[in-house]
């Protein structure tokens, strides 16, 4: 955009830097000079001193200095600040002029060169006549200088040169052109900077000194001017703190000026400039709150200073610019590291700038179009002789005029007219949109989505005013959904109304209908008459006619639009539109539901579609159709009503497709699901409702899924919360809120009419062939074909169970690993109605635990649904939990021949192995046989025949067996030796003949085997008789390889007399045995303790007779003395 009169001048907005002019550099032909200049210019980062350099020719003419006024007594100022002043001090009048000159100290023609240099300096001095500008000389030398004081010629010649040029020693510099150019340049720069600061300081003092000559009455303007200049010089001097102070004073002085209509603009302009400077410096000093406070003060002071009422738009333009430039300053400060917050960011200022720009537009519309008959004044009052103004903010046709009344009312009128005409050429919308989009960018950054949307609406509306409808629609469309999801209906309606106008003016049929659908719907807050008007327009469009124009549209635009619509009408084709409405809130609502979440395949699927309209008038649709995920069903769910387009509005009660506002209409559909879809879902993918006719225009309103739009879910929620009583409805009517969407249904197989029963006797016993009988009886009316049985372990259980379960149909063989856990698809063939089939199954469970068994019977049957023959596949599942338990427990123990418990056995001494079989089965068990398989380390004493063969055990009963065994000598008996295996063969008593016998193998425990040195056993009869001799023979056997000395004694007993050796000492040779014979003579009847035998081994002191006693009998039963049959006693009895 080209700069307008409202833009701030660039010299105001830049950062003032000391101006230093460089002369004597030949940039074009001299590479060295070029390098020097580049070193000055390149890399001017923040750490370099702030100087703006300029290369000027040696004889450059600087602006002439006017003769300084000595008295202000008769001086009347013509304005506040001259337009050229800032630029003059930034770019035209240098603080320092540097003369570059190539001269080495050992120059041969020193004299000539010296005078040439002096001449150059003189030329510069002359053109700076009257100014305080400093002059410095830089000698460009080829040699590196010696340290100061060492080069005598140098110091001598330097002094001479200074003298010749009339320079102080401080203004003469040497620049050796060597490797370290940049370093030298930086040192030079710093020296220049000092000179420049001195210059600006003197200038500042000079302006300050004027103050004493001024008086308050005539020189008010000068107070401002001087204060501004002081501040500006301070800035040039980089003394920003003081500059800020001076600017603040200047700002207060501006507002002290006598303001009237003729100088209002000048004052505002100046105030704006100074305010800009203050805010800028505040941001620079990192005191943003000061900047904001200053700006607020500025706005409050200036808000009401409108000036001429006929040029009110100028004030708005100026205000807009104030906000905009503050926003720019703020934004710039943020880029330099300032942090802004949500409630205080540049966006607000851009927004306000946009607001004033809108105001400007409004005022311009009011003020600039009142009289179109008057021509632009001639001569142009806005033309000035110089082409620009002398003072900021003055009127071109009366520059320098400072009194209250305009000098020439006629001229004034012409000037105002010219300004008004000029304003008409301004592209206001463009300005507004640019500001709004700036604001949008800011609010986006500071997390204000709603503010952003609001501004985008404004942008859209501005585009609409600017007649850029495409862009307007794009923006409005973009934000519409935000307002829709937040449910701000008033705002949505307002946006939709604008959008509708845009689409009307562009002749966009589809958009026009889309917006209309929503505007006549329930979310719209339009009045009923407006809705009615829009509805009629929609119907017109559907009948291929032009709609009536929207109200409040520009008349010329309406004309253009009408012709667009006429063209559109005559255009054939592209008259079908599909509008997807689930993200809108259209005037017609839809809910579709399957009656049940699942349907059996032999029952027709039922579907209801409910429709309700919210528009003011009844409306007739031409077609309703439902689409499913399986498109084959689509054909069954269509309602069509051919209607003549002329009767579209006539309400007819019986018209099926004519919807009365706010009345719920129900459509019922029914179809038979395909048998292939059993187990699948039928889903409603879309509902389409056709508006209009296929020969006119037609609009397909499309709901994705089973209806519902942007607002319906919330409405449904509210309805469920509501306590309101439902209105009483007649039988055919439905309350809309009670209908809920059911978008899918499952097709499930027909209910089987078959009975499946399982007979078995739980629990199962480990490893047995468990017998189950499955009986299947058909209750169908027709033949059940292709009957199949799947039986076995239900899949999905523990993997261990699967590995230890085997199922077979053949019960006569034991099954093994090769059998599966589940027998699939056992074909049974056909079942006539009522026929019953039984099937036996055998299951072998290797481990205990609970198993779930599945019996699955499937078959096919022919049925008729809705006069349609279908083959239905049915199946029935039965599951049964079966516990497996161990059939019996076997306990094994070792006992001595006296049935005493043994924890170890002795070599070659017989002992007993006892097995106890305790039945745990609830069913009687038949023990078919048992077998003891001895390990090599064991030997049987006699026959090992089974003692439990064919024994039947009831629950809780036990059976025992007893085997007499001995243990031959073994090498390492102490660790225990294997005893062997015990095998039991058994079956259920109830099981059938051919069921195999189960063999259960029990591993016998290990036993510790020990050797003993002496073995004693006694030969004695099983009983004695009182007073009858009882011979007892003790065998004492030496089992060691040594000769044993045995001491033996028999303790007397009260119950016996005895004969034999009472105490004896004898010697037994290795491996031999000694027999000791005693004759016991019992004295008492009953169980009597035998006289105890005590044996001591002299060679084995630890050997006790206690151990031996285990082998010897301790008691014997003594029968009473036999008596002859006594008659007397019998008689007595």
């Amino acid at each position: 955009m080209s700069p307008t009169q409202w833009d701030l001048p660039p010299e105001l907005c830049c950062r003032p830097m000391a101006f230093v002019a460089l002369t004597g550099l030949d940039m074009v032909y001299n590479a060295i000079h070029r390098a020097i200049w580049d070193a000055f210019c390149a890399n001017r980062r923040a750490d370099r001193v702030p100087i703006s350099f300029k290369v000027l020719p040696g004889d450059h003419e600087y602006p002439k200095c006017r003769t300084k006024r000595t008295s202000y007594e008769w001086y009347i100022p013509k304005g506040i600040l001259k337009t050229g002043w800032m630029n003059k001090h930034l770019n035209l009048v240098p603080a320092l002029v540097v003369v570059f000159y190539e001269l080495d100290w050992d120059e041969a023609q020193w004299k000539e060169k010296q005078s040439e240099c002096a001449t150059k300096v003189e030329i510069v001095r002359t053109s700076l006549q009257g100014r305080n500008t400093k002059v410095a000389v830089v000698l460009i030398q080829k040699k590196t200088p010696l340290p100061p004081g060492e080069d005598l010629i140098a110091s001598e010649r330097a002094a001479a040169l200074c003298n010749a040029c009339d320079l102080s020693g401080k203004s003469l510099f040497v620049l050796p052109h060597t490797d370290h150019l940049v370093g030298y340049i930086i040192r030079l720069e710093n020296a220049f900077y000092e000179h420049a600061q001195t210059y600006y300081y003197t200038e500042l003092r000079r302006v300050k000194s004027h103050k004493e000559f001024l008086n308050k009455t005539t020189h008010q303007l000068l107070f401002v001017r001087h204060q501004f200049k002081i501040a500006f010089f301070s800035e040039l001097k980089q003394d920003t703190q003081n500059a800020l102070k001076y600017y603040r004073t200047a700002y207060n002085l501006v507002h002290e000026l006598r303001a009237h209509e003729t100088n209002m603009l000048e004052i505002k302009n100046m105030a704006g400039f100074i305010n800009y400077k203050i805010c800028r410096l505040c941001f620079q000093h990192n005191t943003p709150l000061d900047a904001i406070a200053q700006f607020r003060k500025h706005i409050d002071l200036c808000k009401k200073k409108i000036g001429s009422a006929e040029l009110a738009f100028e004030h708005a333009a100026w205000m807009s610019k104030q906000f905009q430039s503050f926003g720019d300053l703020f934004d710039e400060a943020i880029k330099l590291g300032l942090t802004a917050i949500q409630t205080q960011n540049p966006g607000f200022y851009y927004q306000q700038a946009a607001y004033y720009a809108q105001e400007r537009k409004q005022q311009a519309n009011q003020l600039c179009y009142h009289d179109l008959s008057i021509n632009y004044p001639n001569p142009d009052p806005l033309e000035t002789a110089a082409g620009s103004l002398d003072f900021y903010g003055q009127r071109p046709w009366r520059q320098g005029h400072q009194s209250i009344d305009p000098p020439d009312p006629e001229k004034e009128k012409g000037g105002i007219l010219a300004l008004q005409r000029k304003e008409r050429d301004v592209l206001h919308s463009e300005l507004i949109i640019a500001l709004l989009s700036n604001a949008v960018a800011q609010f986006k950054k500071y997390k204000c989505p709603r503010m952003k949307s609001h501004l985008m609406v404004q942008m859209g509306e501005e585009y609409y005013h600017a007649k850029d409808y495409t862009k307007a629609l794009k923006l409005l469309d973009y934000v519409m959904c935000d307002y829709r999801t937040e449910r701000w209906w008033t705002l949505l309606t307002s946006i939709l109304t604008t959008a509708l106008k845009c689409s009307y003016l562009m002749g966009q049929v589809k958009d026009y209908i889309t917006y209309s659908l929503e505007l006549i719907g329930r979310a719209s807050t339009l009045r009923e008459d407006q809705k009615s008007r829009i509805e009629k327009n929609v119907i017109k469009v559907l009948m291929n006619e032009c709609p009536d124009p929207e109200p409040d549209c520009d008349s010329s635009a309406v004309k253009a639009a009408q012709s667009l619509w006429t063209d559109r009408v005559s255009l054939a084709g592209s008259n079908d539109f599909t509008i997807e409405v689930q993200d809108y809130i259209p005037f017609v609502q839809c809910k579709a539901k399957f009656l049940y979440p699942s349907f059996h395949v032999d029952i027709p699927v039922q579907l209801h579609v409910y429709l309700k309209t919210d528009c003011p008038h009844p409306i007739r649709f031409s077609k309703l159709c439902v689409s499913f995920n399986n498109q084959e069903y689509n054909q069954y769910c269509v309602v069509e009503e051919p209607c003549q387009s002329t009767h579209i509005l006539e309400p007819s009660a019986q018209g099926n497709m004519c919807l009365v506002p706010r009345k719920t209409r129900k459509y019922t559909f029914k179809f038979v699901a395909r048998t292939e879809d059993v187990g699948k879902k039928i889903e409603i993918t879309a509902v389409d409702l056709m508006l209009g006719s296929e020969n006119g225009r037609c609009v397909l309103i499309n709901w994705r899924g089973a209806g519902g739009d942007a607002a319906s879910s919330q409405e449904a929620l509210q309805a469920t919360r509501s306590f309101k009583r439902r209105p009483r409805l007649t039988e055919n009517e439905v309350d809309w809120d009670t209908v809920s969407i059911q978008a899918n249904t499952m097709v499930i197989s027909r209910v089987p009419r078959i009975s499946v029963q399982i007979h078995h006797e739980p629990p199962a016993l480990t490893n047995e062939m468990y017998w189950m009988v499955v009986s299947i009886q058909s209750q169908e009316d027709t033949v059940a074909k292709d009957v199949k049985l799947t039986a076995g372990l239900k899949p999905g259980q523990d993997a261990n169970l699967t590995q230890t379960t085997y199922v077979t149909l053949n019960g006569s063989e034991m099954c093994d690993d090769s059998h599966p856990a589940l027998l699939p698809d056992i074909s049974i063939g056909e079942l006539q109605p009522g026929q019953k089939v039984e099937k036996s199954l055998y299951v072998r469970c290797g481990t205990t635990g609970t198993r779930i068994f599945l019996v699955h019977v499937s078959y096919a049957v022919d049925t008729t649904v809705e006069d349609k023959e279908i083959v239905c596949k049915c199946h029935k599942d039965e599951t049964v939990n079966i516990e497996t338990i161990v059939p019996f427990d076997v306990a094994v123990k070792f006992v001595s021949s006296k049935f005493e418990h043994l924890d170890r056995v002795y070599v070659d001494i017989p002992f007993l192995l006892m097995t106890d079989i305790l039945s745990a089965s609830p069913w009687p068990l038949n023990l078919v046989s048992s077998e003891l398989q001895l390990a090599p380390s064991m030997a049987a004493v006699d026959q090992l025949d089974s003692q439990v063969e064919q024994v039947v055990l009831q629950t809780g009963e036990s059976a025992s067996e007893c085997f007499c065994l001995t243990c031959p000598p073994v090498a390492s008996g102490a660790n225990g030796v294997a005893s062997g295996l015990y095998v039991l063969s058994w079956k259920r008593k109830s099981s059938r003949e051919n069921v195999p016998v189960v063999s259960t193998v029990i591993t016998l425990p290990h036993v510790v085997v020990e050797t003993i040195p002496l073995y004693v056993h006694a030969d004695l009869p099983s009983f004695g008789r009182v007073r009858e001799s009882l011979p007892v023979k003790y065998h004492i056997q030496n089992r060691t390889g040594l000769v044993q000395d045995v001491e033996m004694s028999v303790e007397p007993s009260d119950a016996f007399m005895f004969s034999g050796l009472k105490q004896v000492r004898l010697r037994i040779l290795p491996g031999t045995k000694q027999e000791m014979l005693y004759n016991f003579y019992p004295l008492m009847a009953g169980y009597q303790n035998l006289p105890s035998l005590t044996i001591n081994l002299l060679r084995f002191p630890g050997f006790t007779s206690q151990l031996l006693r285990r082998f010897l009998p301790t008691r014997i039963f003594v029968k009473p003395q036999g008596r002859q049959v006594d008659d007397a006693s019998i008689a007595a009895a």
Partner: protein
């Protein structure tokens, strides 16, 4: 006194908006709607702090050139927004607080009505009168 008073549901849709009829109603709707940006930000900032000791009054949301917008949020996240004229300097923070308190009390009464369905637009006469009283007082 106030130029616009609004009650906003937890889900940020309006339950009640009244503005002085002389002005452009739509403008106030936008003002209230945009102020929700600040309300949401403030709620989320407070949410991180102690929830129990939360101050319901949110203070000045943001100043526009002509209006000041104040916010208040109940424990159930229903928001009240009051817009006052910038030029009305008589209204101090305390007055605004008491206005909000009154509004909250009146809103509680509305909620206590067994026939009012929470989430529906407020159509209570008592509430209306209270709001009118607040809007008229000074104007």
């Amino acid at each position: 006194m106030a130029v616009c008073i609004a009650v906003i549901a937890k889900e940020n849709y309006p339950l009640y908006i009244r503005s002085i009829p002389t002005e452009n109603e739509l403008k106030f709707h936008y003002t209230v709607h945009t102020s929700l940006d600040v309300v949401e930000e403030k709620i989320s900032a407070v949410g991180k702090a102690l929830v129990d000791q939360r101050e319901l009054y949110l203070g000045l949301l943001y100043p526009t050139e002509d209006y000041k917008v104040y916010g208040y949020v109940t424990n159930s996240k229903v928001k009240f927004v009051i817009v006052v004229d910038s030029s009305n300097t008589a209204l101090r923070d305390n007055e605004i607080r008491s206005m909000f308190r009154k509004l909250h009390n009146s809103y509680t009464d509305v909620m206590c009505n067994p026939f009012y369905n929470p989430g529906d637009p407020i159509q209570s006469k008592a509430f209306d009168n209270m709001v009118s009283a607040m809007m008229v007082q000074v104007c």
